[in-house]
């Protein structure tokens, strides 16, 4: 094996210095805002009071698993976990395949203004904040909103549908809004992967008489499998945060209300209400940690499963 001399290594690093500086900025950012604050997780095991200031995180007395026990015995625990897992799985099942299908369809469109327009229009909702979307939802979906008025005028329904107040509708509403908002944006990732497929494979397939669907099934999807697996692992890692959209908290906070709380209340809104509203930061830290640990387990399990089944993994 050829060994590099020290001088050679140094000159290689010097050549990359500007790029390394960019990476360093990113590492510093992660360290300051993601890694160092993890020391504060110890708060979940302590009887921390906000009046002790930030140093109190380290000097407060230990209470062990007291807050974890309190959370799992809380009357809301089963409902919160059910809603968190349920909403997350619904989003995973419906919002994960949709960008792939949309990217495949886009790639099959003829290049031109219509394709560009479709692609642009599809990812624009990604830039609209959930606050605006909840306002739009209210205008469209309230009992006096546009959709209900339309359906009443056509005599499709006899009384308005409680899209925003019916607990049975909330999971569907959250999933559909997430699909609308994020499909176009994540399709970009898959579209980029599809663009990287060798066109000769398609030409050969056409010559062999493969139909469009067969080309998608035997060429497109297998070729972008690594991308699909990577995105899937990332989505699973953020499953409880809302998967690809990362939208669970915003949706539940903005669209949740007293009427649909049985379906909209999730662990994150509970942490927000309990921790910040009632000043129980230590308890909120413990509850948040429960969710983070489960998410971490998901990441490792899905990574291992992907390695075994698909031969491709994130790490």
């Amino acid at each position: 094996m050829r060994r590099r001399k020290v001088g050679q290594h140094k000159s290689g690093f010097r050549k990359q210095l500007p790029l390394q500086l960019f990476v360093l900025a990113g590492i510093l950012y992660l360290s300051v805002f993601n890694i160092i604050p993890m020391a504060g997780l110890v708060m979940g095991f302590k009887d921390y009071k906000i009046t002790d200031g930030w140093l109190g995180i380290f000097t407060a007395p230990w209470v062990g698993l007291k807050f974890f026990r309190e959370f799992v015995t809380d009357f809301q625990f089963p409902v919160l976990v059910r809603n968190t897992v349920g909403i997350s799985l619904c989003k995973l099942i419906f919002t994960f395949p949709l960008p792939i299908a949309f990217a495949v369809m886009l790639s099959d469109m003829r290049r031109g203004w219509f394709r560009k327009l479709t692609q642009t229009a599809s990812y624009l909702p990604h830039f609209i904040s959930w606050v605006i979307i909840s306002g739009i939802s209210y205008q469209f979906l309230s009992s006096s909103g546009i959709l209900n008025r339309f359906l009443l005028a056509l005599h499709v329904i006899k009384k308005p549908i409680g899209f925003l107040t019916d607990a049975g509708m909330y999971w569907g509403l959250a999933t559909v809004l997430d699909m609308w908002k994020e499909t176009g944006w994540w399709a970009i990732v898959f579209l980029a992967a599809i663009m990287g497929i060798n066109m000769e494979m398609y030409e050969s397939a056409i010559l062999d008489g493969a139909s469009r669907l067969q080309r998608v099934r035997y060429i497109t999807l297998p070729s972008i499998k690594p991308t699909i697996v990577t995105v899937l692992i990332l989505a699973l890692g953020n499953l409880f945060g809302g998967g690809l959209g990362g939208s669970n908290f915003e949706q539940s906070y903005l669209l949740g209300n007293a009427m649909n709380s049985e379906a909209s209340g999730i662990i994150q809104t509970y942490v927000y209400d309990v921790g910040l509203a009632n000043g129980r930061y230590a308890y909120a830290a413990a509850v948040g940690m429960v969710q983070s640990v489960i998410s971490l387990i998901f990441v490792f399990v899905s990574n291992a499963a992907a390695k075994r089944t698909a031969g491709s993994s994130l790490f």
Binding site: P18, T165, Y272, N278, G279, Y281
Partner: protein, 526 residues
């Protein structure tokens, strides 16, 4: 070479941009909405020695506050009396203050009605005894000083008073009330619409239900009983006796476990099943949306807080020229008061000019300061009559009838030490007789038990945690019961409700409160 330099420049710019959000103590801008990482202003300039005003920064922990500056006739009078000006920051949501306390980034002053236990801590704010010692300013001229100090001392772990809660009066003071009514919830209604449809004004809850049905027939486009934000069905809850049911002078019961509460739920459920209230309006937490519906002919009856300012707001913002709002007379039992005071002005440990802060605190809590903050300038805006009731000038009364002029010209929102009776007289003195009669009807039968408020546990104590859970359960199951479509669903929701209350520790809470109330009664001599 140029490429390299550009790359270096971009890399440094990127790093600077990534860290540009890091907090600065000397920042002049207020914390943003929902962004709990940012910190509030600490702009304190002490220039008292040269005769100029001392400027203190203040954080008002109420996102609904209608003003955001210390300007107007009343603030000018306060500035003249104390030599102090205020740089005001209003909370954008209810979660900000906790983060500010935890990060130690409080401005000079804080006015809040929540997190009072957290603010009553020597790491966070200066206790009044220490403040008096540091500055030589005495607070003993404060109205009801002894009682208010003792109440404030129950809010801290070390037994010291860190503030004096405003909006407090003793029962002896209440006995001398000449007009108006104590602060409570009520229902306003469109008198013109009832008259036009020939519908009689109800005088009890049964008549109210029938009246709502008639309203629904006469005005199918409007919601008979509108709702918005915080108040929802509170007046009905009080009138069915829920408030009275929780304390009989000896034993305390959390209100959701009383028989009166189930009667309220049943009544409210009947309103829903008759199509008289809307689930969507009930779910709306934004008070402004509810107000807008009321202004825009969206409802005939509207629950809100009993105050002349709210009434004038409904009247002056109504889109219909013919709109005539009135106050519905109470339809049932009066509320049970638990007033120990409401909000407190705190001087934080970060205060840059404690002398100016102490001067301002002493003035606003004095009889003179309390009256100025609510009534304006004596001699110019008001004079006391032989009954001790202020008689206001025409200019004052005219401004009171227009909320925009009221807040910009007078600005009565710096009532940090004013008593409840000061506020009542501000609201009602000089009002037309028939209107005054409508409002004053709400004072009949009102009894105040300050021990109920004083005995409440701090939010972070074990009993306080139980109370928070009970309130969460109430919010969740109350909606479920009220908006049940069948009797079976209603009974099932009520049963689940009671089971949840039991599992949360309602027995422990009731026992704790009963014991604490007796202790407070003995200690305070109530």
């Amino acid at each position: 070479m140029r490429k390299k330099l550009s790359a270096y420049f971009l890399a440094i710019l990127t790093a600077a941009a990534l860290f540009s959000g890091c907090g600065g103590v000397s920042s002049e801008t207020a914390a943003g909405a929902g962004d709990s990482g940012e910190q509030a202003t600490k702009a304190s300039e002490s220039t008292g020695e040269s005769g100029e005003l001392s400027k203190l920064s203040i954080f008002i922990n109420m996102s609904w506050y209608p003003v955001d500056s210390f300007t107007g006739k009343i603030p000018d009078a306060i500035k003249a009396a104390t030599g102090t000006d205020l740089d005001v920051t209003i909370a954008t949501d209810s979660k900000q203050l906790g983060v500010m306390i935890a990060s130690g980034e409080l401005p000079d002053l804080v006015f809040s009605d929540t997190e009072i236990n957290e603010l009553s801590n020597s790491n966070v704010c200066i206790p009044l005894d220490e403040l008096a010692e540091m500055t030589g300013v005495s607070f003993e001229n404060a109205e009801n000083y002894d009682e208010r100090t003792r109440i404030a001392s129950t809010l801290s772990e070390d037994g010291r008073a860190y503030t004096l809660l405003n909006n407090y009066n003793s029962n002896e003071d209440w006995d001398k009330l000449k007009l108006g009514a104590q602060g409570q919830t009520c229902i306003y209604y469109r008198q013109d619409l009832l008259e036009a449809a020939g519908i009689e004004v109800p005088t009890n809850l049964e008549e109210f239900r029938n009246c709502l049905k008639e309203v629904k027939t006469a005005y199918p486009e409007m919601t008979p009983l509108g709702m918005g934000g915080y108040w929802k069905l509170q007046p009905i809850s009080i009138w069915t006796g829920v408030s009275q049911g929780k304390y009989d002078g000896k034993e305390y019961r959390y209100e959701s476990a009383t028989p009166e509460y189930k009667s309220f739920l049943k009544y409210a459920n009947s309103l829903y099943r008759d199509g008289l209230i809307s689930a969507e309006e009930y779910a709306n937490e934004n008070e402004e949306i509810g107000h807008q519906r009321a202004y825009n002919d969206g409802c005939v009856f509207y629950p809100w807080y009993l105050a002349n300012s709210n009434f004038t707001q409904l009247q002056s913002n109504a889109v219909s020229d013919s709109a005539k709002w009135a106050v519905l007379a109470p339809l049932g039992q009066p509320p049970l008061g638990d007033g120990k005071g409401w909000g407190g002005l705190f001087i934080s440990r970060n205060c840059g000019d404690v002398t100016a802060a102490a001067r301002l605190f002493a003035y606003l809590n004095s009889v003179e300061g309390g009256r100025t903050s609510m009534w304006g300038v004596e001699g110019d805006d008001w004079m006391l009559d032989e009954n001790g009731v202020p008689q206001f000038s025409e200019e004052f009364l005219e401004a009171r009838g227009n909320s925009e002029v009221w807040y910009s010209k007078y600005n009565t929102m710096f009532y940090f030490g004013a008593s409840a009776i000061d506020e009542i007289y501000m609201n009602y003195s000089g009002m037309e007789e028939d209107k005054l009669k409508e409002f004053s009807a709400y004072s009949k039968g009102f009894v105040n038990y300050p021990e109920l408020g004083i005995a409440k546990p701090s939010t972070t104590s074990e009993e306080g945690v139980i109370y928070t859970k009970l309130e969460d359960i109430r919010k969740k199951y109350e909606a479920k019961a009220i908006f049940s479509d069948t009797d079976e669903d209603f009974e099932s929701a009520c049963e689940e409700f009671m089971k949840a209350l039991d599992s949360a520790g309602i027995g422990t809470y009731n026992t704790y409160m009963t014991e604490q109330i007796q202790k407070v009664k003995q200690e305070f001599g109530f």
